[in-house]
C-alpha cells in the first residue's frame, strides 16, 4: 500500500465512530488499490483512482453488543441458528454498505463473533465461520432481534418492497423461499 492511500484510510478512521475502523484495518489484506469498478460491489461512487474497499460486520453501538439485530448467513430451525453474522442497531438503507467519502467504500459482510442470543424460537449464535466474509446484501437467511424494539427487513433498498417484521426478542428464518433478498432495514417502536 502506498503512503497516500494509507493516509486516506486514516482519515476515514478519524471520521468514523470508535472502535469499528480498527476492525477493518485488521483486514488490510482485502484492501485494494486502483481502479475499483462500482459494479463489482454494487456501490457507485465518483470515478476515483484512490478507490479503497473496507469491510464491516458491526454497526451496533450497544455496549458488549448486548442489544443488536443479528443477521445470520445460514438459516436454522429446531431452536438453533448458528453461522457468521452481521450485527447492527441502526436503520440501514442498503445492506450493501455505504460510501464513506474520500473514495472509500464500506461493504457490509458477515463475520464470526463470540456472541449469541437466547430468543423466542431458540438460540441465535454467531459463533461459526460459515459465511464469514460473505456480503450481507441478498445473502442473509435468518434474523435474531435482541433489541427492545421491532426490526423490519425490507426486500428492496431504501425501505421498499415487502418486508419481514421480527419482533423484539424474536428470531426466525427470513420469509424468502426463492432466493435471499434482504436489502434494507428499519428499527421500529
Amino acid at each position: 500500500m502506498t503512503r497516500s492511500s494509507r493516509t486516506r484510510l486514516r482519515t476515514a478512521d478519524m471520521a468514523d465512530s470508535r472502535g469499528r475502523i480498527a476492525r477493518t484495518r485488521r483486514q488490510a489484506s482485502v484492501i485494494t488499490l486502483g481502479a475499483l469498478t462500482a459494479t463489482t460491489l454494487g456501490l457507485a461512487f465518483p470515478a476515483n483512482a484512490w478507490a479503497v474497499d473496507t469491510y464491516r460486520s458491526d454497526r451496533c453501538s450497544s455496549s458488549g453488543n448486548n442489544r443488536c439485530v443479528m443477521l445470520n448467513y445460514n438459516s436454522g430451525g429446531n431452536g438453533y441458528w448458528s453461522s457468521s453474522c452481521f450485527i447492527s442497531n441502526i436503520n440501514i438503507s442498503n445492506y450493501a454498505g455505504y460510501y464513506a467519502g474520500d473514495g472509500i467504500n464500506v461493504h457490509y459482510v458477515f463475520d464470526r463473533r463470540s456472541l449469541l442470543y437466547s430468543l423466542s424460537n431458540g438460540t441465535s449464535s454467531c459463533q461459526s465461520t460459515s459465511g464469514k466474509g460473505q456480503r450481507v446484501k441478498n445473502n442473509a437467511a435468518a434474523v435474531g432481534n435482541n433489541l427492545t424494539a421491532d426490526v423490519r427487513v425490507y426486500y428492496n433498498s431504501g425501505y421498499s418492497g415487502p418486508s419481514d417484521t421480527i419482533g423484539a426478542g424474536n428470531n426466525r428464518n427470513l420469509s424468502a423461499t426463492l432466493k435471499n433478498d434482504n436489502a434494507s432495514q428499519k428499527i421500529l417502536n
Partner: protein, 325 residues
C-alpha cells in the same frame, strides 16, 4: 450517504437513571396507578396505566391503514388481512413494557423504556403498499426523490443497564462474557427466558409467519411473471426517452440507494419524477398489483384454515395486550 447509516451513539439517553428518580411499582390492573419517570434528555411525563400511549406519543405521525395518495392510493393486497398492523404492534409492546417493568422491579432493577409509538414506520404493515414497487407518489418524488418522506431518524432503542439487569431481562450475556449470575438472583428464580420470557408467556406471541411467507413469495414470483416483464419493458422504454437506463423500477430505487447522496440531489429528484410518471403512463402499479392479487388469492385460498387459525390466535394476543394499555 443516507443519514440512517451513520450510527450516532447516544449513551444512556434512555437508560434508567441512577439517582433522583421516583418509580412507583405498579400492578397493571390498578387504574389509578401513576408513575413519574425522569431520564436524561427524555421527555418528562406522567405515564398512567390507563392512558400511557395517548399522553406521550404523537399518533398523528402514525401510518394510516390505507395508502392515501399516489399511484398506490387505496390499493390493499389480500394478504394484508393477515399481517400485523402498526397499532397492534404498539399495543403489544406497551403491554410487554408494563409486565417487564414489574418483573425487573421484583429483582430490584429499574426498567423504563419510553412509551412505544414514537418511531413509526411509513407503512401500516409489512406489505408496504406505497413503496412496495418503489416510489409511487409524484408529490413526494418532487420533494424527496427516492428518500422516504417521513424522517428516517437515528435513535437507539432502550437498554437495561448493567450486566445482571441485562441477564435477568432476557438472559443476555455480553459478547465473549459468561453469565453474571446463576438461575436465581436476590433469592428469586429468574423466569425462563428472563423477564421477557415471562411477559411473552402472559401476553402470548403474535405470529404471522404464514402470511409473511405469502407476502414475500408473491413479490418474488411477480418479478418473473410475463405481465410484469412486459410492463417493465414499457416502463424502461419510457425511462429511456427521459434519458435513463434501467430494466425495472426496483433496479432504479436500488441504484438510488447505492450512490453517495447528499439529501435528495436534483438529479435524483429528476429521475424520481420520471420514474413515477413512467409508472403512471404504463399503469405499472396496477399491473403489478393485479398479478400479486391473483397470486395471493390463490395462495390464501389454499391455506385459509391455517391462516384463519393463526389470525384468531393473534387477535387473542392483541386482546390480552390491550388489557394493559
Amino acid at each position: 450517504m443516507a443519514t440512517g447509516d451513520r450510527a450516532r451513539r447516544r449513551s444512556g439517553r434512555w437508560a434508567a437513571p441512577g439517582t433522583g428518580v421516583l418509580v412507583l411499582s405498579c400492578v397493571a390492573f390498578l387504574a389509578s396507578c401513576a408513575e413519574a419517570v425522569e431520564s436524561e434528555g427524555a421527555p418528562r411525563g406522567q405515564v398512567e396505566a390507563g392512558n400511557s400511549i395517548a399522553e406521550t406519543v404523537d399518533k398523528t405521525a402514525w401510518p394510516q391503514a390505507d395508502v392515501d395518495s399516489g399511484l398506490a392510493k387505496d390499493l390493499k393486497l389480500p394478504v394484508e388481512a393477515y399481517l400485523q398492523t402498526y397499532p397492534e404492534q404498539v399495543t403489544i409492546q406497551q403491554a410487554n413494557n408494563t409486565l417487564q417493568r414489574d418483573c425487573m422491579g421484583r429483582f430490584g432493577f429499574d426498567f423504563a423504556p419510553p412509551a412505544p409509538g414514537s418511531h413509526p414506520p411509513g407503512e401500516y404493515n409489512s406489505a408496504n403498499m406505497k413503496r412496495r414497487y418503489g416510489i409511487t407518489d409524484l408529490g413526494e418524488a418532487r420533494q424527496h426523490g427516492y428518500q422516504p418522506p417521513e424522517p428516517v431518524e437515528e435513535w437507539t432503542p432502550y437498554e437495561p443497564e448493567g450486566e445482571v439487569a441485562n441477564y435477568v431481562f432476557d438472559l443476555t450475556v455480553s459478547e465473549g462474557q459468561s453469565a453474571p449470575t446463576g438461575q436465581d438472583y436476590q433469592g428469586m428464580d429468574i423466569p425462563e427466558g428472563g423477564c421477557r420470557g415471562e411477559s411473552d408467556r402472559i401476553i402470548g406471541e403474535f405470529g404471522d409467519e404464514l402470511a409473511s411467507k405469502i407476502n414475500v413469495d408473491t413479490f418474488q414470483r411477480l418479478k418473473q411473471d410475463p405481465r410484469a416483464i412486459q410492463v417493465n419493458q414499457e416502463w424502461a422504454a419510457c425511462m429511456q426517452t427521459r434519458g435513463y437506463s434501467f430494466t425495472s423500477p426496483l433496479e432504479a430505487i436500488d441504484q438510488a440507494f447505492s450512490a453517495p447522496a447528499d439529501g435528495a440531489a436534483q438529479d435524483e429528484i429528476s429521475q424520481a419524477v420520471a420514474d413515477v410518471e413512467c409508472k403512471k403512463s404504463t399503469d405499472l402499479v396496477n399491473v403489478y398489483f393485479s398479478v400479486e392479487t391473483e397470486m395471493q388469492e390463490e395462495e390464501i385460498g389454499r391455506q385459509r384454515p391455517a391462516l384463519d387459525e393463526q389470525k384468531e390466535k393473534n387477535d387473542q394476543v392483541v386482546q390480552n395486550a390491550a388489557a394493559y394499555s
